[in-house]
Amino acid sequence: VIELYAVVDADGPPLPPALSAVTRDGLAFVCAPAREQKLSPERLWEHEAVIESLMADRDLVPVRYGSRVEDEGAAARALEERHRELARALDGVRGAIELSVRVLGDRADASPKVEEAASGAEYLRAKVRSAVAEARISHAVHEPLERLARAAMQRPCTSPGELLRGAYLVERAGVDDFVRQVSDLQAQHPELRLLCTGPWPPYSFSAS
């Protein structure tokens, strides 16, 4: 059984020693013999580290952790069957990486907690407040960042006080400008807390 890590161009730089490539028509699956099945945060980070080491010197479409096939023949068949889709995905992220931006705001703008609402009307009013705050942040923070990105998406906010959870597909050469824009936005909005992380493999832009 082998584990899949990423889809890359077949004619890229040589792979690190522990990894091998299964190639078909210009594309390659990067893979390695599968190890123990037990899932842990450490295993996930190892998987991530392998993908990131590849990302340093080539474009790639990351494969979700836990994608295993029987042998190299099965990997080749999978590559053949989904060749068009994977080639399109790789073209879509070529030359770019993913950056993540999260924004925390005032707790007063947070989505209301059932336990804290004094009445039904108060609960709904708090809902309206948080919807308005999210829309405001989308306009004030997400839109200027989106303009610096090849593609962008927003995920639903889940933690208390969170107003934006954005993913941005940014040209490798444009990362510094993007981060500078984040710093500028932070300076313009001292009431917010902006966190920018990356570069990440383009997980949010590799629909597969």
């Binding site: 899932l39 925390l104 009445s119 995920r155 889940t158 933690s159």
Partner: protein, 112 residues
Amino acid sequence: VRDKLLHTPPDIDLFATERPRLDALTRRVNADPESVERGLAQLVLTIVELLRQLMERQALRRIDGGALDEDQVERLGRTFMELDKRMAELREEFGLDEEDLNLNLGPLGNLL
């Protein structure tokens, strides 16, 4: 992880209050035969959550438009609070997070 921080606010600790989760693993309906029940619950609750959000948006729009009196707003609010509470209980029961109640629709993006 430190070298992943490109811009940080002075009080970065505020971002560290969530419990860690194995994000990428749960965003799809789990088809593992050993967890079919959980996968099915996830699918059903996702659809219920979709309807809940649609109704909520509708309600907020009606309130915004001033079409409802105080009593109606209070009753609506109570209803949504009950729904919210019940959803949280069901999620808890099946070990699901809010983010689990979303489906990746491929090129169409996420359902919610």
